[in-house]
């Protein structure tokens, strides 16, 4: 069964981690969220999102 065949495991490892660490995080990071994330330990969570000032 070819899906269980280990080789070429090192090439697959290096190539997939290269793609995984270079391309995807830059795409994920460029998504800006208006609310800063609050830790679980915070007393009061800032839940309201941005609204028109009036």
């Amino acid at each position: 069964m070819p899906q269980l065949n280990p080789g070429p495991w090192f090439a697959i490892l290096v190539f997939s981690w290269l793609i995984f660490l270079t391309i995807i995080p830059t795409k994920i990071l460029s998504h800006i969220s208006p609310n800063e994330p609050t830790p679980v330990s915070a007393e009061k969570h800032k839940t309201e999102s941005w609204d028109w000032p009036w």
């Binding site: 070429p8 998504h31 994330p37 830790p39």
Partner: protein, 227 residues
Amino acid sequence: MMVSFFDQFASPSYLGIPNIAVAIALPWVLYPTPPARWINNRLITIQGWFINRFTNQLMLPLNVGGHKWALLLASLMIFLITINMLGLLPYTFTPTTQLSLNMGFAVPLWLATVIIGMRNQPTIALGHLLPEGTPIPLIPVLIIIETISLLIRPLALGVRLTANLTAGHLLIQLIATAVFVLLPMMPTVAILTAAVLFLLTLLEVAVAMIQAYVFVLLLSLYLQENV
């Protein structure tokens, strides 16, 4: 010539380039990168919502120390779900059916969580090897069992993803072959089988998403024990 049903899992080469490399490198052009300004289209908005809500849900049970993993885990989710879903299209190769790729992700990430636990809080990390309130005669046996279950985790993580996707692709191919073979002999049965094939395809779409989520969720649970 009769080909084996498992041949679909061997990465074909085209012009000397293995398809597994293409299937890992290229899908990311499908995701538009948001601009530096706060102006979005629908696709970018839904992407952003997915990433932010997912990260929020995943990080809720974690301590603050574990929040550094948010980017890594969100990236992993996008990576796995994209490859799983695109692999369901006909004539495509699915890299996540390869055990070597899945182990290549499972082992280093699991090892990172274990090393973090052993380095920052060795007492608590080792404490997970013995549940509280164990009767004294059971202690040696239980520590051995818990150690084995700790060490088997990366194997289970990689094999789970491989087995689920492999089984799904095999079932789809088996039932599709059955439809083709049955069509000239028993058209009614063939149509019924085609209906089953459609339902199975829906199931496999769900499995592709669920298994990517399960992989990331389990990693976050291992991290939770160690931060």
